[in-house]
Amino acid sequence: MNRALRPLVATTAIFALAYLAAVVQFPAMFSTRVMGNFLTDNAFLGIAAVGMTFVIISGGIDLSVGAVIGFTTVLNAVLIMWLGLHPLLAFAISLGVAAAFGAVMGAAIHYLKVPSFIVTLAGMFLARGGASVLSPDSIGIKHELYTTISKSYILLPGGGRLTVIGMIMLLVFAFGIVLAHRTRFGSYVYALGGSEVSAGLMGVPVARTTILIYTLSATLAGLAGIVFSLYTSAGYSLSALGVELDAIAAVVIGGTLLTGGYGFIAGTFIGVMLQGLVQTYIVFDGTLSSWWTKIVIGGLLFLFILLQRLVFSAAAPRRKVFWKT
């Protein structure tokens, strides 16, 4: 088996076992209702985590994700409630602003040769600060489109609801999988994570790819912000605090190597769902503090980093070669 697949298989197995154990204890957890809620409740995290997966595969990190989500919710609310714009126009503007923000960060990382950690840390402060300057208080969003969207869903057999925002997340994952594994851009992202020097010598457009990666991540964070504002019907500068760290956790638990070069978008989906499972379990249990989520995620993260070390530090297996003579 391809060794890069091992962490993904492990994550999938752990998710399946954990879900099974939860269902044994609370049979009600095995229902389309619960699964539908998994998707809806974690939609914004999942969307942001797709962008984060690309960044981490390329060997970088994006700490600005949570702040960009927060900023987008506020910007949306301001555009819709204060300026009276139609939500669709507001969405377009928000996505454009987020994309430009990401492009500037990507350009700074590439041209100034500053580590992505530092650039996106600055981006995090800027976005979070910008959101608070726009409005320090929460702004409720009332618009018929918001009401329509939150009322629309596809009824699943068993009474579960696949909401619009759940569908958006699934689409983003599908888009991410195709982009990562089936396009030239995707192969360039993996190439950068493997070796930036080699990638450059092989003709990968390093500058363009780097800028596009951070543009993609920020745009998806902007989309996550829109989804978050649909989910909460509000814009608040302090929303989605620390979501970048949840996203990183989901990406790593999903089998992506933090040092770059290896990873799967599908793995990130399972990483997000695993976090949702833990939260749901805690709700079902009713006695545990919701902070137990963090403890479980911390434990899992540690386990996976350990697993990756074991898988990737072992000398690469040498394959048998058949020479024609």
Binding site: R182, R184, S187, G194, G203, V321, F322, W323, K324
Partner: protein, 505 residues
């Protein structure tokens, strides 16, 4: 030999200047289609500079590159690749984390509606590699294959994308004998297809095995281009090492008489895969020269002696007492000093002052709790700098601003300050302008007269014979000869190095 008359690529009168140093001085070079042309020279001879100019990594300061009869200027290696010149480096510059197929076609994958056609790529990759006699799973990670396979994948990619000239930069350095044979089969196939191949290596026997012509560079100058059918290994070694052929004035060596008691003795010191076990005793007031080509194990020998690499066998004794040297700190404690080959990388602390560079080894030897105060530092640094005639406007200026020769003397001063038993100098005159060579040689002679034991590694044969009491010759990572007395002559050394090199010698 399938050799067309017209060269496919040609360099004419190439000049490349770095600062004040002429890295290449009017070098001509050409490759014909269907020819393997070996490029030889010691470190600093200008091989890699020439290659970087041919492959677009550097721009020449003079002269021109002619491809298929027209003058060209490549903006970067990718541009050169588009024009037909592909390069494969010793460290494979591919992506170990991606599949073999993707490595072959990255950036050129066929797509349909933006979606990469993976099956097409895999089929073409299999077909392409079959042409090189390689049947492997092209979907597997490149990193899961041996370096030899990775090299061939790199060659396949370079040929696929360029297709006129292939530059192989030390491709065999990390391959075993079988893999080298496979690599040569691949090279022979490409040669038959009419590619011009530039082959850089420091294994002479491989040159004689595969190459049609050889060009030798030394100190940035073209020494000669010869058909290999016309020369012997001895000729080639002489061209690589000789100094404008004022050859064979045997007996200029130092009198052997002035030998004191044994200062340092190495008994069967060796390390698997680096240097075969060797034994060597150095006397007080003796200089032992080490001759051999690049990659013959000279530097590895010095690194073992100084504990940079730990030996897996043998013992070291100083003044008759066995000592353990497993790291440089223990070597310094035993009174050893080491001026490494790459001064800028391993020797000087460029940003620190001349004074700091001189006292640093002494301070390290004294330890944390016996800090030298500023007056002591000034006095020590000043006296050694004066004794060695280090020319600096001020001993407080950063040492990187000094000339190469003065930097070298600052490192010498650093070790002399610890009052050493034994000094190892690895290529002390490399990258120093010619005038300063004589001065370094004088310094070595003076240190000998003062009773120090020295081991000096050098490719400058004229210099080695001028200061050595004895000369050991390294070849294929083993000590193969020890010369003394009348044998200390360039012709004898060349013969010892070339012996058994290349079957046609």
């Amino acid at each position: 030999m399938v050799v067309g008359a017209e060269p496919v690529v040609q360099a004419r009168g190439i000049v490349k200047i770095f600062g004040q140093h002429r890295a290449l001085d009017g070098v001509d070079f050409s490759v014909r289609p269907g020819e393997v042309h070996a490029l030889l020279g010691e470190n600093g001879a200008g091989k890699s500079t020439l290659i970087k100019i041919l492959t677009g990594a550097y721009q020449p300061d003079g002269g021109e590159v002619i491809l298929d009869g027209a003058a060209v200027r490549f903006s970067d290696p990718l541009d050169a690749q588009r024009h037909g010149i592909g390069t494969v480096y010793q460290e494979v510059n591919l992506l170990p984390n991606r599949s073999v197929a993707e490595n072959l076609f990255l950036g050129h994958q066929p797509t349909r509606f933006g979606i990469v056609q993976r099956r097409v790529i895999e089929a073409r990759a299999r077909e392409l590699l079959a042409g090189y006699g390689l049947e492997i799973d092209v979907r597997a990670e490149l990193g899961s294959y041996s370096v030899a396979v990775q090299q061939i994948v790199a060659i396949a990619r370079a040929v696929e994308l360029s297709g006129k000239v292939l530059v192989l930069d030390e491709p065999t350095a990390s391959l075993d004998r079988n893999e080298v044979a496979k690599m040569f089969e691949v090279v022979a196939r490409l040669k038959a297809r009419g590619l011009g191949i530039i082959f850089i290596t420091h294994f002479l026997d491989q040159v004689f095995e595969i190459a049609d012509r050889v060009t030798i560079l030394r100190n940035g100058k073209l020494i000669g281009t010869k058909a290999l059918s016309e020369v012997t290994a001895t000729d080639v070694v002489r061209m690589m090492l000789g100094k404008d052929l004022a050859f064979d004035h045997g007996g200029v060596g130092v009198a052997e008489a002035v030998q004191g008691p044994v200062r340092v003795e190495f008994k069967s010191l060796g390390r698997q895969g680096k240097v075969a076990p060797f034994s060597l005793a150095l006397h007080e007031g003796e200089v032992v020269g080490v001759a051999g080509l690049l990659g013959s194990g000279r530097t590895e020998m010095a690194r073992l002696m100084f504990g940079v690499d730990s030996a897996d066998g043998g013992e070291i004794s100083v003044g008759g007492k066995v000592v353990s040297i497993r790291n440089p700190a223990q070597a310094v404690a035993a009174g050893f000093g080491f001026c490494p080959e790459d001064r800028k990388l391993d020797g000087i602390f460029g940003e620190l002052s001349v004074r700091e560079n001189i006292i640093i080894a002494l301070q390290a030897k004294l330890g944390w709790f016996r800090a030298l105060n500023r007056d002591e530092q000034n006095e020590i640094a000043g006296s050694y700098a004066e004794a060695l005639d280090i020319r600096a406007a001020d001993y407080e200026m950063p040492v990187k601003l000094l000339s190469g020769g003065n930097q070298q003397k600052a490192i010498l001063a650093r070790w002399l300050a610890i009052d050493p038993n034994f000094l190892i100098l690895d290529e002390p005159t490399r990258g120093i302008d010619v005038g300063a060579h004589a001065e370094i040689v004088r310094t070595i002679n003076r240190l000998r007269e003062e009773g120090l034991a020295l081991l000096v590694i050098s490719s400058e044969l004229d210099e080695v014979v001028a200061y050595s009491n004895r000369i050991v010759v390294m070849r294929d990572r083993a000590m193969v000869a020890e010369l003394s007395g009348a044998d200390i002559a360039p012709s004898v050394i060349v013969a010892a190095i070339a012996e058994n090199q290349g079957g046609r010698a």
